[in-house]
Structures are given as structure tokens and as C-alpha cells.
Amino acid sequence: MSTPGPVLILGGRSDIGRAVAHAFAAKGHPIQLAARGAASLETSRKDMELRHGVSVTLHEFDALDMAGQAGFIDALPALPEIVVCAVGLLGDQYDDERDFDAATRVMRSNFEAPANILGLFANRFETRGTGTLVGISSVAGDRGRASNYIYGSAKAGFTAYLSGLRNRLARKGIHVVTVKPGFVATSMTAGMDLPEKLTAAPEMLGEKIVQAVERRRNVIYVKPVWALVMLIIRNIPEAVFKKTSI
């Protein structure tokens, strides 16, 4: 078996990003953690190295700095084998309905910025002929709902982008995984009262994403029950759906 190649985590501070990093590190992959204020991830870096005996490097990264994205990639110590994008911003639906700057920020953070950076990696992977891209989208993108449609519509865009990317690269040896988590117990959802049976731990995402990459899965819902829940939600007739509050 060849030595596992490096895995880049965009949004390396997020609970999900961290869990995914640990899961890949446990399999012997060197890790590149990218985040805003990356230097403050030093404790995380050391922890990962201690636990898994792999090399872990830190990289300054602001996804919204679109002009800087290409330079960011070029500055990495090596072009990663796998890129996982965990960047996202939930926002506050009620406030964002009234503050368009904030709404734009949510849309850009969940769609434009993640899509662009993965697009840049896609081009480089295509040239190299290998690589896997993992985008963390959300079930929120499966249907717009009153409670989170700003975030949800951006995730919908991201989901569609990933699907197109997968289609484009399928015959080029590049694989794209779309991850659509339901509820995950992270700092994004801290303080919310999430139903236990529908909520995954970040560690579970880590495990499932590694599995999905290894088995070249296309779209995963993490907790299988969510596939069913969303199937139902997607199929409620609009005339009925518009009057519900789910």
C-alpha cells in the first residue's frame, strides 16, 4: 500500500472539520489545516500529531478573500490528495431577512466561496489526474424553508455545483463527494434543542466521510434516516408545504 497522501481541511477550526481531520489522520494521512487565524490552531495541531503520529501543518485561509484563493493553493507545501471543505456560516434567518449585507455574507460563505475554491482545486486535480473533493453541504439545501432559506438556498447552490463538478470530472479520475448532514452537535448548533435520534456527533461525520472517500460514494446523508426524512420533505406538494412550519 502506498503512503496516504495529504488531506486539506478548509475550515479547520470547525468541529466537523476537526473530526474529519482526526479520522483521516488516524488512517495515516498527513493533514493540512486551513482557517482564519490559523496560528491559534497550534494546540489542535499538536494534539493531532500526538494522537496519530502524522505531520500536521497550519495554513492561513479566508474563504471570502476570493483574490487570494489561487495564491493560497500555491503556497501549500504539497497539492493535497483530498480536500474537504467544511466552511459554512449559519447566520440568523430573522435578522438576515432585514440586513442584506449579512444575508449576502451567508450566501457567499456557503456557496460562492466554497464553490470557487473547490473549482480551483478541481482544475489542478484534473491536470494531475487524481484527487478527491469533499464538499460539506446540508439537508437545508434540499428544500427552502421559512426557518433557514437564506442558508438553505446557498447550500442548495453548493449542492448543485458539487453535482456538476462530479459530472464533469467523473471520467477524469477525480471524485467528488457531497455530504448532506442533518443535525450535527457542534458549536454551530450549540444551545439548540436537537432531537437525539436525528443528531450526529462530529466524530460520526469523520468516520462516514473517510468511508465515503474510500468507497467513492457520491452523496451521503451521514445518518441514513435523513435520506428518508428529506425524501418525504421534498415530496410534499408545494400547496401543502407552503403552509407547514418544519
Binding site: 494546540t43 499538536k46 494534539d47 500526538l50 494522537r51 503520529g53 458549536s187 434543542d193
Partner: protein, 440 residues
Amino acid sequence: MMLSGWGRFPRIDCQVTRPLTEDALRAQVAKGGLIARGNGRAYGDSALSPGNTVDMRGFRHMLAFDAATGVLTVEAGVLLGDVISAFLPRGWFPPVTPGTKFVTIGGMIAADVHGKNHHKHGSFGQFVDWIDVMGADGAVTRCSRHENPELFGWTLGGMGLTGVILRAAFRLTRVETAWIRQTMIPAPDLDAAMAAFEASGDATYSVAWIDCLRLGDGLGRSLVMLGEHATFAELKLPEKRDPLLAPKRRRLTVPFDLPGFLLNGATLRAFNALYYNQGARNAGESLVDWDSYFYPLDAILGWNRSYGRKGFAQFQCALPLASSRQGLQALLKAIAAAGMGSFLAVLKRFGPQDSRFSFPMEGYTLALDFPVNRGTLALLDRLDRITLDHGGRFYLAKDSRMRAETLRAADPRVAGFLEMRGADARAETFTSAQSKRLTL
């Protein structure tokens, strides 16, 4: 949210926060009435505070490891199981471990846990070089046997009531393999079991499963299990190829609460007879992987649900050596006569222990659990009485229902603990449902 310890009794509505930084933790400390919570494996109400329960699992980083000395430095919320996953493959094992690996290092220090090697190596605290503790004023104090020894001493076994443990450095033990050489000794009664313990003081690990439902001749019949870390030379193929790797065990999950009636005198008696006879047939030596040896119950996730919805209560006492035989006999008689007991009752020889507030004392310890109902609560009061009459004391990490007077009668060290807590506003700042109940 509704929260409980591992015994699922009592259940209390608690405000829970999960700080990720020292500043966020300091803000919680400033509110007072705080208790630190690790992985919730204490059985009762030690890690519950209605107004301010702080989940410490956000402090989850391993910080440093010195391969020359085996000293590992971690944040308090790191799980013991993660320490094993990371370091056993490199030939290191925790120096002391409780019967589950799903505990945090902070929780292990706060309860100053003991393992099957207590008679030989003492409690976990013996292997702790230093800890960082956040006090009532939010300041963090490094303490050890040399630096702030008072705070260090009271915090080991202090059940989170002296402050919040943030970081710790402790020494891992070198091992050659992931396997334990186990020797099983069937003991037809209590005297035989105690004789087996007394004869095996050199064994690294010793523990007994005890049948607590036998009366008369077979009172206290036990399976005494001794263990040694197997050396490389003691392994055979195929284990020899990967000496530090043990097979992954299958996991079972108890998905829902079993109806309480499944556990009654008859099913227990049948189980115990089966278990003893099976053990007696397997007397002698065998090689057991580390996970099955130290953590048999961890393979059944959520086994605490097998007691039904009302939960269960643990009873664990320690008796001084001189009165152990009499005390154990009295306890076992009371339990057997009541016809109530558990699948898992554990007897263990403790070695000497010299510490401020830790549970162990030289002698014997008996631990078992009961489903919570009026009958068992009355029985537990009787067991408290017997323990007191024989000069014993109680393990706070297991307690959920003891009376404040009982604790005081059992433990003259309470006065010193209160005095320590009285200084520096610790008494108001750090409180748990247990500390309120026991007026600590």
C-alpha cells in the same frame, strides 16, 4: 436539559454549557454554583448542578508526550480510551484504570480512581505529576506535590469541589503487549476469596466477581481474577506479529430501557450460578486482550439502560483490613437475605493509601448495583449502617443517595475538606447536587 450520572438516578434539569476556551470557562466560574462534568460516568449526582454544569469535554487536546519518561500532558476533557488508542500501539498503558475507558482524565483525578492494581500501585493520583486548577477567582494555579501541595492534595478525590481541573501531566506505564495473562481462581466462599487475595499481593492486577445472592456455606463465593501484562515472549502466533494490537471487539448496544422485572432474584440467581460454574471450568491461565480484560462492560454500550427507566444505584464501600472479614460477611448476608443484588458485584483488595480525601483505604472494597426502588433504598441504608459499624467509608463517585450524617460519621476528613472549601470562596463557587445533599 435533563441530566443524570451513569446510574440514571437522580435525573435533574441542568443548565449545561460547553466552553472551549479558558475565558469562556472563567465566565461560567464567575456565575458560581458550578460543577465540572467529565464524561458522566460517576453513577449518581457528583457531576450535576442545576444552575451551572460545565461539560469539560471541549478541553480535549493532548498537549505533550515525553517518550523518555512516559509523561503525557493533556487537557482535562481527554478521554482515557483516546489515550489508550494513541499510546498502546507505541507500548504505553495507563498506570491505573477504572472499569470503563469512557472517562475523562479530569474525572479520573477528581474521583482519584482506583483500578485492579490498587493493592500494588495505589490510586491514579500517585501517577499525576501536576495539575492546573481554576479557582473561584478564575485564576489558574499549577499544583503538584511540591507546588501548592494543599490544593493538589484536596483536588485528588475532591469531586470537582475544589475548582476546575484544566490540564494534567501523568505517567504512562511501559508494556510489551496489548495482552493480559489472566489467572482465574474459583473461591467457593468468602474466606477462600480473601485467602486468594492475601496470597497474591505480588500480582499486578487482582479483582473478584462475587456472587452476592448466596447464603450459608457458599456465602461470598467468588471468581478471583489475577492479571499480568503479558510479555512479548509469552505471546504465540499470530498475536506475536502485532503484539500491541488486539482484535477490535464487537459492540452491542442496549437500545432501550429493559423492563425492570427482568432483573429479579430468580434471574439473578440463575445468572450467578451459570457465571460461577463457567468461571470454575475455566480456572487457570489464559491470555485476554486488554479491552476485554479491563473493560468487559464497555462492549455493551448503554448497558446502564438494562435496569429500566428508574435507573439504578451503586453501592461501594471500603472496609479497614482488620474488620473486612466481619464487615463483608454482614454486608453479604444483608444483601442475600434481601434477595436483591446485581449481575456485577466486585470485591477487591486495597493497598495502603495516604491522601487527603480519596476513597481507598487499606482493606477490602465491595461494589454492586441495585435497581432503584423503595426496597433497595431501604437496603442501601442498612448497608450504610453495617459499613459504619465496621469503620468503613463510601465512594462518592458511586453515591447518589447517602445521607449527610452518614458521610460525616464515616469520614473524619470531612472537617478538613470543609475548611479548605471555606477559604477562597470555593464553597459557593463549586457545588454539585451531591455536595448540596451531603452538605459538603
